[in-house]
């Protein structure tokens, strides 16, 4: 689809997600065993034939840039179009609405040079598998100014509009008072014809630790992950070259999603386990999310916890969080026995 360009607004800062996004932008929060949140929207764009994607980051974007690299894993390392990265570190706090025009204006050349007639603007933290070609088809057929994608009446913060209209909105933001695409759509008095596109697949909006934890564990239901991981529309991510996961003779694994490169020697039940995790002998881990390269010692007992990347839980540690308030072990930290008592 050479007709549409993709814009991912990764400027969002979310206080309720702070514990997982202290060192990284929300877009780079790990999700579903081997992905970052941005992988879903980016893969949806690529799978919908979009060949030019602009990412507007604001906070802590080192891990996001490291993750995306040249865009090769999404087939976006192109001579023509491809992946663009537009940080604006000097801008004041962005609007709480998605699609801040001020941020876009800083990189207006991208929009001016792009030949695509339509633009798709999305947030970075909505997890779903959607074909944007269908959204565009409806947008064109119904002759709307802006089409907003919704799920059960709730905005998914995905908008299709003509690039020329976007340029007008950016240029006239002072006169109109609209600071973002969200402002335009949610103002009942605007003069534009806004339509809705109802998405009927699985959706997870990750806007707090609670929703993160809830949606992570929801993925363990086959009818949920089957809607997210569709063979013809794969979710791409940064390749890590990890070996297959090794289960030892003592391993007990039930109802869990496990990425590559793990060594499982203990008991894992109702868990999401990211790449390169080691779970020691005699450890029992239940209803938890264990992120990349974390090591869990022998005989640990963990329930309702989220363990961020590169953490280490020493032998015999026992931690129990609550179903709606998981215990969080921060990135790169060591959790010893005495600390949890």
């Amino acid at each position: 689809m050479k007709m549409m360009l993709g814009v991912i607004d990764a400027t969002t800062y979310m206080e309720p997600l702070q514990n997982l996004a202290a060192h990284r932008s929300v877009a780079a929060v790990p999700f579903a065993g081997r992905y970052r949140l941005i992988d879903f929207v980016l893969s949806n764009m690529v799978n919908s034939g979009i060949e030019s994607v602009a990412i507007f980051p604001k906070y802590q974007y080192r891990s996001l840039m490291d993750h995306l690299g040249s865009g090769k894993n999404w087939d976006l390392n192109r001579k023509r179009d491809g992946l663009f990265f537009f940080p604006s570190p000097d801008l004041p706090l962005p609007s709480s609405q998605i699609g801040a025009f001020q941020h876009f204006e800083q990189h207006i050349d991208y929009f001016l040079r792009s030949k695509q007639k339509y633009a798709l603007i999305c947030n970075s933290y909505t997890v779903c598998n959607i074909d944007y070609r269908l959204v565009l088809e409806q947008h064109i057929a119904s002759q709307c100014d802006i089409t907003e994608v919704r799920y059960q009446g709730r905005s998914l913060e995905m908008f299709v509009l003509e690039t020329s209209l976007l340029l007008d909105l950016i240029a006239n933001r002072v006169q109109t008072g609209y600071n973002s695409i969200g402002d335009v759509v949610h103002n009942p008095f605007h003069s534009l014809n806004v339509c809705h596109y109802e998405h009927d697949g699985y959706v997870a909006v990750i806007d707090s630790v609670e929703s993160y934890f809830h949606h992570s564990l929801q993925l363990l239901q086959p009818d949920v992950w089957k809607q997210l991981f569709i063979q013809s529309r794969p979710i791409y991510t940064k390749v890590k070259d990890e070996p297959p996961t090794q289960y030892t003779a003592d391993a007990v694994v039930k109802n869990s999603m496990i990425a590559n490169g793990c060594v499982i020697e203990g008991h894992v039940e109702n868990c999401i386990v990211f790449r390169g995790v080691k779970i020691g002998k005699g450890a029992v881990v239940k209803n938890s999310v264990i992120m990349q390269k974390t090591q869990i010692g022998e005989r640990c007992e963990l329930e309702h916890v989220i363990i961020d990347k590169d953490a280490k839980v020493e032998n015999d540690v026992k931690i129990t969080g609550a179903e709606h308030r998981p215990f969080i072990i921060r990135k790169g930290t060591v959790q010893g026995v005495l600390m949890s008592q």
Binding site: A32, G33, R34, K72, L220, P222, W225, L228, F229, P234, I235, Y236, T237, V239, D241, P243, P244, T245, Q246, Y247, T248, A249, D250, A251, V252, V253, K254, N255, S256, M257, I258, A259, N260, G261, V263, I272, V273
Partner: protein
Amino acid sequence: MGKKKCIAMLLAGGQGSRLNSLTKQLAKPAVPFGGKYRIIDFTLSNCTNSGIDTVGVLTQYQPLLLHSYIGIGSAWDLDRRDGGVTVLPPYSESSGVKWYEGTAHAIYQNINYIEQYDPDYVLILSGDHIYKMNYAKMLDYHIEKGADVTISVIEVPWSEASRFGIMNTNEQMEIIEFEEKPVHPKNNLASMGIYIFSWPLLREYLQIDNNNPHSSHDFGKDVIPLLLHEGKRLVAYPFKGYWKDVGTVKSLWEANMDLLNPECELNLFDHMWRIYSVNPNQPPQYIAAYASVVSSLVNEGCVIEGEVEHSVVFQGVHIQKGAVVKDCVVMPDATIGENVYMEKAIVPSALEIPAGTVIRPSMPEEIVLVTKEWLEQQRSETIEKG
């Protein structure tokens, strides 16, 4: 092209006929191995990990999949501006099409490729073996010994020595005799089919060999014996570690099972020596509440609803409810139906095993290579009995 100290020529044209139906439509180096790899990944990763950035891959038999798998070499970080991976299939010239007649002839046909890089040394590799080896160390040894040719050797059990090309050496590790599959071996140092040649010498002898109408144009059979005969300095490089020629269905199965042994020397989890492969882009594996997985390697994209014990399961495999998979190798995208019982078998890529099938070898030391034909035969036998 800039000058390179050492480039690699990787022989990947072999059919591997003893792998039966597994190599009907793909070359042996492309056969899946170890839950996510293809055999050639080991040699290509060894090159990258050893700092060799120029690799010519010689293909001939069933090259389609191998060519598309190698691509421009990105998976192994071999997509380089100067050098990198180059696939070298046989080609036609004004005097006609010349298939590669032997390993030495294949290299001879690509002298022009090698000369672009004006190398001092050429490393000859085979894409048929599973091992991790630092070729840079072997090159240092070659230079230090002042050798014309260095041949990597590995100690094999005396009882098996007559299956290999055996190098008889003196105390300085100089090769004094080479015997192909000797009935009464004098030594147990087997050639691993890995050679480092000083390029001017190799170039000269490829020419001599090519002019000899009686030669079969093979390194082991013709070129090495000729060099020995002419008193060149051939040195053995002793390699210690895991090395396996997965030339038969049984050895392929065994090498996969080796990975499940905690004592196995072939460590796939070593981040300092990663084995790279083309990523299949699949979601994490899902292990159901009523499933069980022990002593196994399982790759991404699998859905495990049955029992998996001591098996290697590749990406995208679905093992359905009630199925029992024991001591098996299940290749990519295969489906094991409900209540299947399988023991000591290899299931090739994308094969679907119908519900309730029982697969086990008729003799205890055998391995079943499951095929469509085999499944159909089983079905008709069941109908006859039924």
